[in-house]
Amino acid sequence: MKFGIVTFPGSNCDYDAYHAVVDALGEDAVYLWHKDHDLQGADVVILPGGFSYGDYLRAGAIAALSPIMREVVQHAQRGGPVLGICNGFQIACEARLLPGALLRNASLKFVCAPITLRVENATTRFTSGYERGQLITLPVAHGDGRYSADDETLDRLEGEGQVVFRYAPDRVQAEESYNPNGSIRDIAGIVNREGNVLGMMPHPERAVDPVLGRPDGLALFESLLQHVAA
């Protein structure tokens, strides 16, 4: 199975994604340059974290118009899996692959910390390796992670099971401070209606190696592998 990892000017988690796919998962990965029009036969496209175009105008707004995004959108429309992490989530929203938008953290502070998430939907092709209600720990590192959408969109997301990850309190994260960015309804990650595009602010690709802490992100990549191989 082949993963294509898009490198935009300012991407900084493309190497982490490569490490997760190649070293932790044991699959193939290629870097895709944002100016190209070729996905090089990738089965899964990863839009990695970082600060594409310096977050100019709005985080992800300029990258969403990069040449390669035409092919990424076509890939998604054909049902191909797309995983947008952090800045990649912002880009996916700006490219209208996902509804809503990501705004400045309510605290106005950049947050960089391990955070507890609850898996809300374990039937997607990204999360079948988890259990519904499972609490996992993944790192977050962002300044613009406050998910926002109108009530109608939010109700639809909830009703269709498209809210995949939510920030959740646990023994370490107190009841009032578990949500790192003020995201509405504690939303940390969503899928599109078809279930083939996942956007999430936390970084599963930085949690795949036991040397660096709990490898809770690995199951996400393993889920994708199982689904595409099946």
Partner: protein
Amino acid sequence: MTRFRVAVHVVPRRGLLDPQGKAVADALHSLGFSAVASVHVGRHLVLELDAPDADAARAMAREMCERLLANPVTEDFQIAEVSAE
């Protein structure tokens, strides 16, 4: 064709949490400007573009706002000024 200067205001949609605006309002209060009820921080863009007339320049700027300059989910925009250079 005439060269026009088009000024655009993009602001967070009213009613959405605007932490940046609130931080600025708090700072103004600390300076003693107690009359300030609220602040909204947005962007001011100045476009220089060629168009046959002012209406066409305005229409072009509006389309640019809808497609890129403002986020339709969270922001409102206003074409504040169109003037020939």
